[in-house]
């Protein structure tokens, strides 16, 4: 146990977390250069593309230090996005130390800070690292200053590294051995092992990644999971090299995997504690939380006939993603689909993208929504995550919506732009700190509903990509929220309804009406488009009836071509959604999602 070091890396996107990890793996001989696909730890294509780690991973390295001793270094990767902050906190809980990696030209960013605070809260030893020191745009002294202000270390404590050029890595390895505390714990005490991640394997079922705090797990041990209170058997344990390496046992201080015949990841809950079923620990490790979805949206198959396919895809997807929740719902406009709950916006995008890429599902998504608390006149609280469930205006006493605490870090010249954006998004200004004379750290409170829409894109464009943004949930506050309906020829299109602040309803209604007018093709009958709050119409537009659509010539040589055109149009019609006698093209639903672009 004295020779084990458990650590993770905290960094903002693109600051080089994966490159440093790869470099450590290569220098310790865990992977050869030939084996090293770039950025080994990012498994999913999507992760590699976005440069964001979505799932945590762990890998073990062997390192012979200058003192001549052989050490075991367990690197536990952490997701880099706020949607997954609970998972981050559990990964951090499995470690004794953390590398704080900051890009030498970009400096400290919002995610660096939020994850660093999590690490400090978890009591970890912080090793500050400035990466990419070989870049021509590196401002090492400035970044050093930022780090010193942030964690109060000495200048000498900061390591200068270029993972790309492999400079400074040996010193970094020595620091890991020397500075990161030896894991505490007693291998003879009752077993306490923390599940910090779990993955699904189609042959083995759920594979739990665990950190043993006390005791020892041996193969065939009878075990118990605290949260789900279920007895399992250790079919296989081992450590995580480039592949899984089977071992007879895992002892306190170490990190490894456990396979126990559990079918999917819902029973291997991140944060749960594993112990022995007999003579087990009395208490679980602290810190377990049930993850709760924060953002909701309807997912519908593009072609209504594909509903069962979508269900199958979600069922499979769920084996791998314990945070995704869904249940069937129906929409008048879109037919049968699912209301899905996500941890956040990124999680939602990832699920949609992976359903498309890996499960080949073509889907329509409805406007994302948060969970509103609606209090009726009888004083009852109704939880509304779908505008369709909003009670009638007359029954509502008041409505509350979830708020977040946001941190935006940007060069000071963009403060004006950000303040304007924040005002548009009903932001409540709290405070400004300066990280250094040119960079400001702005603190705001926002309704979550304003953030889930297009906030991040707008923030990026109004600051030319220089701002970084992070947030945490705060709780609920009262707000003047109403349900805005969109009606076509007097019939509400449920999939286009939204819950919105009264002040914004008029502008939104006008935009939707004019966008739909543009996208709904002229049809045999006139189509009136209305935006309404209850029975009050606040905006309208009209798609005039089609007056002429007939091919002038249809002789012997034209018939085949004309029939094929009709067959094609008929197939296209199948993808249209029918509300009353109005056909709505799919693009209309998608366009409403992007209305503010």
């Amino acid at each position: 146990m004295l020779k084990i070091r458990n650590f993770c890396i905290v960094a903002h996107i693109d600051h080089g977390k994966s490159t440093i990890a790869d470099c450590l793996l290569e220098i310790t001989g865990t992977v050869t250069q030939r084996e090293a696909k770039s950025q080994v730890l990012d498994d999913l294509d999507l992760e590699r593309e976005r440069g964001i780690t979505i799932k945590s991973h762990a890998i073990q390295m062997k390192y012979t230090a200058k003192d001549g001793e052989n050490y075991i270094l367990n690197l536990i990767d952490t997701p880099g996005h706020v949607d997954f902050s609970y998972e981050v906190s559990r990964s951090l809980a499995a470690c004794e130390g953390v590398l704080l990696v900051v890009d030498a030209s970009q400096g400290v960013e919002a995610q660096t800070i939020s994850n660093l605070y999590l690490a400090i809260d978890a009591g970890l030893e912080v090793i500050p690292v400035i990466n990419k020191i070989d870049l021509p745009s590196a401002e090492i002294d400035k970044v050093k200053g930022q780090i010193i202000d942030l964690i109060g270390c000495n200048e000498d404590d900061i390591l200068l590294v270029s993972a790309k050029a492999k400079t400074g890595i040996n010193i970094l390895l020595e620091e890991i051995v020397n500075k990161i505390p030896v894991p505490k714990g007693d291998e003879n005490a009752p077993l306490q092992a923390l599940i910090f991640d779990s993955v699904f394997d189609s042959y083995r079922g759920a594979i739990a990644y665990i950190r043993i705090f006390n005791g020892t797990i041996k193969t065939n041990d009878k075990l118990k999971l605290f949260v789900i209170n279920k007895e399992i058997e250790a079919e296989e344990v081992g450590v995580l090299g480039m592949q899984k390496i089977k071992t007879k046992s895992l002892t306190a201080g170490n990190v490894g995997y456990l396979i126990s015949g559990i079918k999917d990841v819902h029973d291997t809950k991140v944060g749960d504690t594993v112990t022995h079923s007999k003579h087990g620990a009395a208490e679980p490790l602290p810190g377990y939380k049930e993850v709760k979805p924060m953002v909701f949206s309807g997912l519908y198959p593009t072609d209504s006939d594909d509903f069962e396919d979508l269900r199958d895809a979600l069922d499979k997807f769920r084996l791998n993603d314990s945070a995704l929740v869904y249940q069937p719902e129906t929409s008048v406009a879109l037919g049968f689909g699912f209301r899905c709950g996500f941890l956040g916006l990124l999680h939602m995008e990832i699920v949609q993208e992976r359903l498309l890429r890996e499960y080949n599902q073509s889907i329509i998504t409805t406007l994302p929504s948060v969970e509103y608390y609606v209090f009726n006149k009888q004083g009852e609280k109704i939880v509304v995550d779908n505008p369709a469930l909003m009670p009638q205006v007359a029954e509502i006493d008041y409505v509350e919506e979830p708020y977040i605490k946001a941190q935006i870090i940007c060069p000071s010249e963009y403060i004006g732009n950000i303040m304007k954006l924040a005002m548009d998004k009903r932001g409540l200004y709290k405070n400004t700190n300066y990280i250094d004379p040119t960079r400001a750290d702005l603190q705001y409170e926002f309704p979550l509903s304003e953030i889930i829409f297009d906030f991040y894109d707008k923030l990026k464009s109004t600051t030319r990509g220089y701002a970084s943004f992070d947030y945490e949930y705060m709780g609920y506050q009262k707000a003047d929220l109403i349900k805005l309906d969109i009606l076509l020829n007097g019939e509400p299109v449920d999939a286009l309804s939204m819950i919105i602040h009264r002040d914004k309803a008029y502008d939104w209604g006008r935009k939707v009406c004019s966008k739909l007018k543009e996208l709904i093709p002229r049809q045999m009958f006139e189509i009136s488009i209305q935006a309404a709050i209850g029975s009050k119409v606040i905006s309208k537009s009209v798609v005039k009836a089609l007056r002429k659509n007939v091919l002038a010539k249809c002789y012997g040589g034209d018939i085949t071509r004309k029939r094929k055109l009709l067959e094609k149009q008929k197939a296209g019609k199948k993808r249209m959604k029918q509300v009353g006698n109005v056909e709505i093209p799919q693009e209309a639903f998608l366009a409403v999602l992007k209305l503010n672009d």
Partner: protein, 376 residues
């Protein structure tokens, strides 16, 4: 005896007009090899199809068949009569361009057996004729129609195009007035179609020409129907109008889902539920015929559903869908399924209320494609 229409495609033109997407070529090379090939093709097919079949109409289209000399055309007609059984009252049409066709030549057409003539006037307005790159003048057009009548043609069609770029309603109505003042029995009034691959299409893509919008098109179409109806013409297809008793028997064969055999480049035939079409390239056509007697580029055997679709589409475009005839061909299930939709269309004045035939109204014709799309 199965009644069958017969079409011959003559690909030669003096000049290619900007809006035209028919297969045509401007050189006179291969005129004679084409004739030999055509005669051989007629002979080949007659061996398979002449039995139990009577030709009720012959139509020479193109291209510009009137460019060919009379003997050339006579040889084609003779070849048909020699190889097929032709009805005594056969309708025999030739397409004609108004440029430089003399009264004498028109008389000869009549003599060798043509009894219907279709004249590609397109417009009586000099500016429009220039825009369309037609090579005749307004006067030539008027004269040709009168000469055709003088030559003894009692069944004369002219083609006109409306909704041309910049065409005002006044210009179009004056075209129509000019048309009905002439001794015609039939008028095809086509709304301009922008065909892919035409010069006009490129002009539009390049922004040199702007098309008028579809509401304007609808106005012109509506006025056309009103005016021609007043003038004693009846509309019997989307774009076709005639005096009583002068429907084009040949074109009705297409629209009434009858069988037709076609010869020449790019020609489409439809017999026994199978449709096939010839190579468009003149050289390819000639060499294929030389080698194997036919020049089929491709074919399709229609499924029942495809037949139903075509039948509905064609009948709605023309005389209307006769419920009895439909039920004989396809059974009654489809009609039952569509009953509600039909009543809705009747209520909204797109269909006429007639228990035996489902027929479009004036408004219905104007959005015929939309109706068919929703129906099928």
């Amino acid at each position: 005896m199965k009644q069958t229409a017969l079409y011959i495609h003559i690909p030669f033109c003096k000049h290619k007009c900007i809006y035209c997407d028919f297969y045509s070529i401007i050189t006179t090379d291969n005129i004679n090899p084409f004739l030999s090939a055509l005669k051989k093709e007629i002979e080949t097919y007659s061996k398979i199809y002449s039995k139990d079949r009577i030709i009720t109409s012959i139509f020479l289209g193109g291209g510009t068949p009137s460019l060919m000399n009379v003997d050339y055309l006579n040889e084609i007609l003779n070849q048909i009569h020699k190889n097929f059984t032709v009805a005594d009252n056969v309708e025999t049409t030739i397409e004609t361009n108004p440029d430089s066709i003399s009264l004498e030549k028109l008389k000869k057409f009549k003599n060798i057996g043509f009894n219907r003539i279709s004249i590609g006037v397109q417009s009586f307005n000099e500016d429009e004729l220039k825009f369309l790159t037609r090579i005749h003048s307004k006067d030539a057009a008027v004269k040709t129609v009168k000469n055709a009548n003088r030559a003894g043609f009692e069944n004369i069609n002219i083609d006109l195009i409306f909704n041309l770029p910049k065409q005002t309603k006044e210009i179009w109505m004056s075209n129509l007035k000019q048309a009905v003042s002439l001794p015609i029995t039939h008028l095809s009034a086509y709304s301009l179609i922008l065909e892919r691959g035409t010069i006009l299409n490129k002009m539009v893509l390049d922004g040199k020409v702007t098309l008028q919008d579809s509401d304007y098109d609808a106005d012109l179409y509506s006025s056309t129907i009103d005016f021609l109806t007043e003038q004693g013409f009846k509309q019997y297809e989307v774009s076709n109008f005639c005096k009583d008793g002068f429907e084009c028997r040949h074109n009705n064969s297409y629209w009434h889902y009858k069988e037709y055999l076609s010869f020449g480049t790019a020609a489409h035939s439809f017999v026994n539920g199978k449709r096939w079409w010839n190579f468009s390239s003149l050289k390819k056509y000639i060499s294929e015929i030389k080698n194997c007697g036919t020049a089929v580029r491709n074919f399709e055997v229609l499924t029942k559903e495809q037949k139903l679709n075509e039948y509905v589409m064609l009948s709605l475009r023309s005389k209307g869908l006769n419920k009895n005839e439909f039920t004989e061909k396809f059974g009654s299930a489809w009609l039952k399924e569509k009953e509600d939709y039909f009543s809705k269309l009747i209520k909204n004045d797109f269909f006429k209320n007639n228990s035996e035939t489902i027929k479009l109204t004036k408004h219905g014709y104007a959005i015929c494609d939309e109706i068919i799309k929703n129906l099928l």
